[in-house]
Amino acid sequence: MACIDARGLRKTYGTMVALDGIDLKVEEGRILGLIGPNGAGKSSALNAILGLTPFEGELKVLGLDPWTQRDQLMSDVCFIADVAVLPRWMKVSQALDYVAGVHPRFDRAKAERFLARTTIKRTSRVRELSKGMVTQLHLALVMAIDAKLLVLDEPTLGLDLLYRKQFYDTLLNDYFDGSRTIVVTTHQVEEIQHILTDLMFIDRGRIVLETSMEDFEARYLEVMVLPDQLAAARALRPIQEREVFGRSILLFDNVPRGQLAALGEVRTPGIADLFIAVMGARESRAQRGPA
């Protein structure tokens, strides 16, 4: 049983199509990065998966229909949708009491251990904590829940670099155990590249790229091309070309590594660069339009 299994998943708001019939399959134990521009349909997809919104098409999460079986599903699914959704009036101790009181899979001792590593006081109210501390608190609550699926929608938006790095390190070291599944969306793609097992680009309600990270590393290569090799490199039809400090960097799709090694230094591209290349190509195709 796949953790998430969608076929022809569609979501419209009036005449606006947010999800245009996507097929999506996420197996158990994967960490999927869902990347797309604003308004691409990421949040619509996550809201459908979390049973927050009705949808058209077929969708099963952990074998359940998230819209009609949400109450049952939420014992095994957890999410951080957006930063700072913790109620501002709540005390840290109340948050612990409440989650322990309503969640059958919450390990309070574990949450306490996470909190002990921070400077968060039990008696503080959420409104008295810094944005970074609120995220730490939310993460402590969520990580102490033995969920099968964790969904993170822009979990680190607006946090400084230290908190962002700490967030993902903690998630990977203390939470992910190979059997849980994590779906994460973020604009800070370069920071999550090393933790992902799968990658998906979504644009205007459609999936435009879907790959495992192993395939990604095998398929896409970036070459810092020496000036005298530029013509030869261009002949191999790079999907993107950019200049950094006067050196040309060309991004190739499915060109053997050996062939590229002769042109310059070869390396795995960043997700961000591939994203720009893929989206840029779509953009220019869209502008040319039907001839």
Binding site: G29, L50, D71, M74, A84, R88, V102, H103
Partner: protein, 313 residues
């Protein structure tokens, strides 16, 4: 933690490696969280009770001397004069509870959408039905109980203070003819009938709170008023207006023996109600009551439906 079983047999819903789910009490904790968030629910009645006690203590200066004069009055008149401050405290606290219920209902489902905490509540396994049930239990159960306890406590303090003053002056505290047992029966009856009568009002406010994007108060008040106005101006009849007025003020007529037939009367505008004035039979067979309760159930069903679908604003 070993989750190998999960990996080998993903179909197994509860592999032995996974600890058994802990017992939870979602409704209880949902009510607790309402009380945490809305601290005015207990602070305001405490404040009003404190005001009642302070006012009473000030009025009790020279009470023993005045009591002599009161005791010279006819027995019925005595009871009325002596019990009046107790009634004022009870009415004040009941009114406070009513205002708190209205304010609470209007904010209950609007606030969590406005501050986006809705997304946190929804990330936990608490159903929308449980959430709405917990929220409506505040005006229907929690506030009446708080009001009852606060009224009885306030009256006890007043009675104790009076007795201390009287005994200090060598008088018998028994001259304070306030029957707290009978009083608490009347109070409980008043709270239960009021609550049942206003149930559709609270449910309506909660529903609007879950629906309106902005200013739930206006959305709650103006549409019914508009319909009543439209009816009056367009057709000249006042059915809607009468219905609304009956809902706001008709509970007393339905729950008590009509004023004209009553033994006890009013004193300085405050109705004196004794156990004999209660009319539970007529109240419970009043079609208005049951129509209101059905309407309340319908509003609550819509509220659950809205809670399911509404997003943060």
């Amino acid at each position: 933690m070993t989750n190998a079983a999960d990996a080998m047999d993903p179909a197994a819903l509860d592999p032995p490696a996974r600890p058994a789910p802990a017992k939870t009490r979602p409704f209880y904790w949902s009510v607790r969280r309402e009380l945490w968030e809305n601290r005015s629910l207990h602070i305001a009645p405490l404040a009003v009770a404190a005001i009642c006690v302070v006012g009473f203590v000030i009025s009790a200066i020279g009470l023993p001397e005045r009591r002599q004069g009161v005791l010279a009055l006819a027995p019925a008149k005595q009871a009325t004069v002596i019990s009046q401050p107790y009634d004022v405290a009870a009415v004040g606290l009941m009114l406070t509870g009513f205002v708190l219920a209205i304010v609470y209902c209007l904010g209950a489902l609007h606030g969590e959408r406005r501050d986006r905490s809705l997304l946190f509540w929804k990330s936990l396994p608490v159903s929308d039905l449980t959430t709405v049930a917990a929220k409506i239990s505040i005006p229907l159960a929690v506030l009446p109980v708080i009001t009852f306890v606060m009224v009885i406590a306030t009256q006890l303090v007043m009675l104790l203070w009076t007795s201390v003053l009287l005994v200090a002056h060598g008088m018998s505290p028994a001259s304070t003819r306030v029957d707290l047992i009978q009083g608490s029966v009347v109070l409980a009856y008043g709270l239960v009938t009021c609550t049942l009568w206003y149930a559709p009002l609270y449910a309506w406010l909660l529903m609007v709170s879950g629906w309106a994007r902005r200013v739930p108060f206006l959305w709650a008040v103006l549409p019914p008023l508009g319909v009543a106005l439209l009816e009056k101006l367009a057709i000249g009849t006042t059915h809607v207006g009468n219905l609304l007025l009956d809902r706001l003020a008709g509970g007393f007529d339905a729950a008590y023996v009509p004023m004209a037939e009553r033994a006890a009367k009013t004193h300085q505008g405050i109705p004196q109600i004794s156990v004999d004035d209660l009319d539970p039979g007529r109240f419970l067979t009043s079609p208005s009551l049951w129509a209101g309760l059905v309407l309340a159930a319908a509003f609550l069903a819509v509220t659950v439906w809205l809670r399911r679908r509404r997003e943060p604003i």
